[in-house]
Structures are given as C-alpha cells and as structure tokens.
Symmetry: C2
Subunit: 405 residues, 2 copies
C-alpha cells in the first residue's frame, strides 16, 4: 500500500542533517540544523502537493486538500527535533509516515472527503527548552503562547528569538485548530513490543509526568583547606536526592524516576561545589501513584534541607496527568492492524508525545512500532524498514477510515 | 616598614581585572583577563626598576639587581590566575607582596647583596588546566615542558596555543633556574589562624595530594520508557563514588576528599545519563594515610564497577607527596615574625602552592596570613589591610636576612 523504500530513503536522507559519529542525530529544537530539517520537510511536502503554513510557535502544517474543504482535516504528525544524542527515528518516523501517506494517496489517485493535514510540532523533546511538547501544548491551550516564547535554554537564549532567527516565527494563530481525528506514529522507545514479539502497539493512553528543577545551594570553598566538618557541599547533598529519585520510582512500579541534567557551579576540581542545578522527571500511568511519588519527593527535600547545611529549592514546573486516547481512534488503529494482518498488543506510552496534547481537543490515537532493545534517546536507536512499513501502513488505513466518515 | 596603603591599593587595582558581581575575581589561567593581569603586573614591576623576562611556560620573572649579580637571587612569588569563582587575594597577595618588597627597598634605598627576584607562576590553580602549579612544576622538573604545553582545557584548547595567543610563550629556558632562598606569602585559605587568633602562620610543610579523573560509562536511554531495572545510569553510579570520597576523607582525619567537577553526558532531562566525567581530589599531611586513602578509592571503584552495569575508569594523573620546607627558611620566617612582634603559630599548608615545587630545588619557606571564616576559592574571600601588611612585612624581613647571607 505505501512505498516502503521511499519512506526509508526519506528517513535516511533526513538523518543526514545533524548526523552524529555513532549513527544518531543531534538536531536540537530551533538550532540551524532544526531549520535545515524543517526546510527539507517543507520542500518534500510542497513537492507532494501540500499547502504549507507555519503558526506563531513555529508548528508547520501541510495540507492535502479533501473533497469537502469545509470539513476539519484528519491529522497526523510528530516532530523533527531530537535529543543531544538522539536517534534517527524518534519523531522523524512520525512526520515522514505522514508524508508517505500523502505520497501514497497521490500515487493511488485517492481523493479523501476530509482534508489530510500533517503537523511538525515545535520542540517536542523538551531537552533544549523545557518542558516537552511545547508546540502541541500551545495549540491545545496547556501553555500560553507568551510563556513558551519567553522560555530560555541553558545559555539564556529565548525561544521566541530563536524562532525568529531560524525564520519559523509564523503568523498563523495558535488558537482554533481542529482535527476530525488525529493519529501519531512513533517508535515505542521501550522494550515491550520487542519482548512480546508484536509488530504494532495499539496505544491506549500515556502515563502522567511531573518535571521539577531542583537548586541546591551550599558554599564554595577550598578543597584542600576546608576541614570535612566545615563544608557545605552542594554536590554531596545532591547525591542523596538523586538516589531518592531512584528509590521513589522503584517503590512505585512501573513508575520511572530520572535525573538527566546536572549543572555544577563553579565546576572546578579544587573548589567544593557551591551550587547544583538539576532536573527531576517522575512518571507513572496512575495519577494517584504519581501524586504519591510527588509527595515523597517534596517530603524528602524538606528532610534533606533540614539535615544538611545546604538550601534546596524544588520547582514543580510541569505536570500532566495520565491521558486516555479516543475510543474510536484506538479502535480504528486496532482494526487497521487486524485488517493488514500485523501482530499487535495494547500499550501505554511511557514517553510524552504531541498526540497526548492533541487529544485535549481532538479524537486521537497512536501507533507504536518496535525499536531495537527498547533503546531510544541514544544514537544507537534502531528499527527496520519492515517495522516502519507496518506502522505507516496502519497509519494510512486508520486515516483513510476516518477521512471518509 | 612596607607601605601598607600602596600594597592594598595595588591589590584592589588588580582585582578590577576579572571582577565578579559578588566581589571576587574570575581570571582563569591564560585567558584574555590573565593576559591583562600579567601586563599590568609587568608595567608595575618595570616602573619599580625590575628587569622582566618570560620563560617557555609563561612564568614571569622580575629581577631587582643585587650588589653581586653572580649570586643566585632571593626569590618570592605566587600566581595571578584565579578559580572560576575566586577571590581577590589567593595568589595575588603573594605576587603583590613581592612587588611591595621591591618598592619598599627602593624607598629605603637599600641595595641587597643578592638580587631579589619575583616570579609570577603560570596556572597555579589547576582549574582550567589540570594539574595545579604547572609553571613552578615545570621549572622544578616535576613536569616536562612538552606535556604541560600539550595539556588541554575542557573545551579542548591547548595550553601551548593559549600561551602563544596571549603573548606569553617566552624564550627563557625553563631549566637551570636557581634561588639562594625562596619565600611565598599567601592567605591561609583555611580556618586555623583565625580560630587561634594568630596573625602569621609559619608554614612548615604542605600536605600531599592525589588527583584523579574518573569516567563512568553506562547507557543512554529514555527516561520515560526504560524500566528501572533495565537502566545503566552512569549518574546514579557516580553518586556512590562521590559519597565514598567523602567517607574515605572522614575516615582519615585530617584528610580531605572532594569531587569538584562533574560533567554529565548528554545532560538532557529526559535521557538517562550515559557518561559521567568527574574529578577526585584526596589530600593528607601523612603519605601513609594518603596511600591508604588511594587504595580504598581504587578498591571501591573495582567493587562498584562489579556491582553495577556501569564501567568505571580511574586515572590517577597527579600525585605529590607531603613536603617539608627548609629549616633555615622556616626559621627566617619565625624570626622575622617574632622580631616584628606578630602573634604566630606553625601550620601545614592544606593547599598546594608554587613554593611546594620550588622547594624541590631551592631552600624555601612560606608565610600565611588569616582569611575571613577560612573561606577561599569563593568570591567572598576576604582579608584586611592589616593582615596583608603583617604578611608582607614578615616577607621583607625574611628576604632581607637571606639576601645578605
Ligand atoms: N517521545 C519523546 O521522546 N518525547 C520526549 C518527551 C518525554 O520525555 O517523554
Ligand atoms: N593555593 C591554591 O589554592 N592552590 C590551588 C591548588 C590546590 O588545589 O591546592
């Protein structure tokens, strides 16, 4: 149904932009490389006959006309930005599957009742600018446009300025977007499909997330002359917090807890660290469990600050509750999978996805495909052409079903 | 005897170069600011009648002629480079005390038998380039010139290139330097003089140091989709190592153990850290104890690597044994202190100092003065004009004694 070689070739072509030594991609949101990726995508979409527009937060929308242009489009999409040491498929597979759907419909000469719309959402990764899923989050109304434009990366660069700089501060309003239905194709990024030997994951929902920034303030002093008992070592205190995050997650299976970012000041080998800035990421499919994890974390922070001479601030700057996808959309994915004869299982997304925010305002579903050893957010992230073909074929079928209703 | 106002004014003037918001200094070795500091120093030394030369590793030597120029000079000196969040006095007090000695001798019209020589040693801090005391270490023969020129900062910049860039790659050979005697004045950087209410520390020796780089390699993967039991979290493993460094130091009083530098890769909040690079600094006044600390550390690293799925490399790249200063020089400091009526105590240096390496090849002593709350390697590092005056006066007297012998 779809052209598997063409999909794979496009994936490999896009992967050249920001290619890393170990076969991955580094194409951080709103960098020059992100701009290059976006421009290549727009070129391809226009060649496939789409009308392209960009909204105020840099989201790209590519429309293939339907018979009735007064109807809301059936949408699909994901993102082009990557982690600092990301893979070739996370996000990219979703937007290129969307493009392959349009190209296939063109090949087959199929005109759909509803328009088809592909979206490339801005800064899904949340790595350079936090939190994640910013573009879809603004469109869903979870974030205000202004707060997102004003967010800053670790070097103090403002998102709105970076958007201007790379030429993607569009003028389409972020409000009022509608989808008749929306589907996102994505690699699973975890180990379950592979372990169960299934080709397709029918995603029924996504786990909840809580993101924090913690700042620990001790006192800088000399590593050779400050007696051990007179130290206010912010790094030493942070080790207890990092271990606690791990313990909390393990006490709430299948929850996750991660410290991925740590910034040490002044980061000089013979100065006792005076300040630590670090991230904390807690996740759980059940909201009650996630709340309990949150409480254990803040209780521990209070205890730790009382025990040590280090001051600790905990900023819970992002939370989204577990979400459940639309029953009809989930059913459309399951039916398409069955019809095409792929093995499948229901699954809950461990990662956040743009589809999670789209599901705030439109009937939404997701299609997962396996990835090697369940590894993602790593340059060695890997999947096969056949696995991509399966996911994209299911997408085409699910979208076609909805585009006629 | 010395001009206390002039010494203080010069300290405050030099502190403007790289001044930080909280009243400290950031003048990292071989940066543009280090160049500015060096140039100001040379201007002052030439105005005071010194002949200035620069050696192959960027050490600056300022000579005030003696009656017999065939005699080895009586030397003093320290450094102008600072920590990333350093104070105004660490090192600078030593080189400006030397200058004040020369200025005072000029005022008093005193001609010494031996020449007087002030040295400004390159990269004493060991913060931008490790290890510390590089300039004096090359002159003492502890390091080869080539290995030091080839050392690189965290951004990969080569020391030799940076020396060229700031115009301080001199042509005076690093070999063959001699001192009839050498004294270094320095703030204590620790709490003991203040606690004992003494004006002068007569430094009898310096504790030993062992510096390591540790690299922990786990596996990057997704913070939301990688089950806790499948992780290879390099940051989590590093927390145990950081805590062990603390435990080892506490088990060997008055030893010190510090992790001051940690670099996390990829340092993205939703990626499990795949690689940690960190520093370890162990110190003890007794070599047997320092060796025991070293062994406990390497044993623990082997254990930790066996217990976790994280690979650990420990590179013990710098060691120097506890040193003992020259009896006659120590006596000269003690006598000068007594003669001038300052309260004093014997003390062992907790920090490394250029004098420690100079003592390899010349009779050497050190003079310590108190600093507020024992805090150094911090922008708030503080001392008074009176304390500086006392240290500089003792220096003048100790040098004069030696310069006539
Ligand atoms: N899909 C994905 O990796 N999203 C990034 C946001 C998250 O950390 O879940
Ligand atoms: N004096 C001083 O701070 N030296 C830096 C080298 C050390 O860490 O001891």
């Amino acid at each position: 149904k779809i052209n598997s070689d063409r999909l794979w070739d496009s994936l490999m072509e896009m992967a050249k932009i920001g290619a890393t030594a170990k076969g991955g991609c580094k194409r951080l949101a709103l960098t020059d490389l992100d701009k290059q990726g976006r421009e290549l995508y727009i070129k391809w979409a226009e060649e496939a006959g789409c009308t392209v527009s960009v909204d105020q937060v840099g989201n790209i929308f590519c429309v293939r006309p339907g018979e009735d242009m007064s109807l809301a489009p059936v949408g699909t999409g994901s993102h082009l930005d990557t982690q600092p040491s990301g893979g070739k498929f996370d996000g990219v597979f979703g937007v290129l599957s969307g493009l392959e759907v349009v190209r296939s419909l063109n090949d087959l000469g199929i005109k759909t009742k509803h328009p088809i719309e592909i979206s490339v959402w801005t800064n899904e990764e949340g790595s350079r600018f936090a939190p994640a899923m910013m573009g879809s989050g603004v469109v869903s109304g979870r974030f205000s446009l202004q707060e997102i434009l004003d967010s800053r990366d670790v070097d103090g660069l403002r998102l709105g300025d970076e958007l201007q700089r790379i030429g993607f501060a569009g003028d389409v309003p972020v409000t009022g977007r509608q989808f008749h239905a929306f589907f996102e194709t994505h690699i699973e990024q975890g180990p379950y499909l592979e372990a169960e030997e299934k080709q397709i994951g029918v995603v029924t929902g996504g786990q909840g997330q809580r993101w924090f920034n913690a700042t620990l303030t001790g006192r800088e002093s000399h590593a050779g002359t400050t007696p051990m008992h007179l130290r206010k070592d912010a790094l030493l205190a942070s080790t207890q917090l990092i271990q606690k995050v791990e313990d909390i997650a393990k006490a709430h299976p299948p929850g996750c807890g991660t410290v991925g970012f740590v910034n040490v000041t002044p980061n000089s080998r013979n100065t006792i660290p005076g300040k630590i800035e670090m991230s904390i990421d807690l996740r759980h499919p059940l909201d009650e469990e996630l709340s309990a994890m949150d409480k254990e974390l803040s209780d521990f922070v209070a205890e730790l600050a009382a025990q040590t001479e280090v001051a600790i601030e905990l900023d819970p700057f992002w939370y989204y509750e577990p979400i459940h996808f639309d029953k009809a959309c989930v059913e459309a994915v399951r039916n398409a999978t069955a019809k095409l004869g792929y093995s499948h299982m229901d699954i809950i997304a461990g990662a956040g996805h743009d589809a999670c925010y789209v599901s705030d305002f439109a009937p939404t579903g997701m299609i997962f495909t396996p990835c090697l050893d369940g590894i993602s957010h790593n340059e060695i992230e890997s999947t096969t052409q056949e696995e991509c073909e399966a996911g994209c074929s299911v997408l085409l079928n699910a979208m076609l079903t909805m585009a006629e209703q």
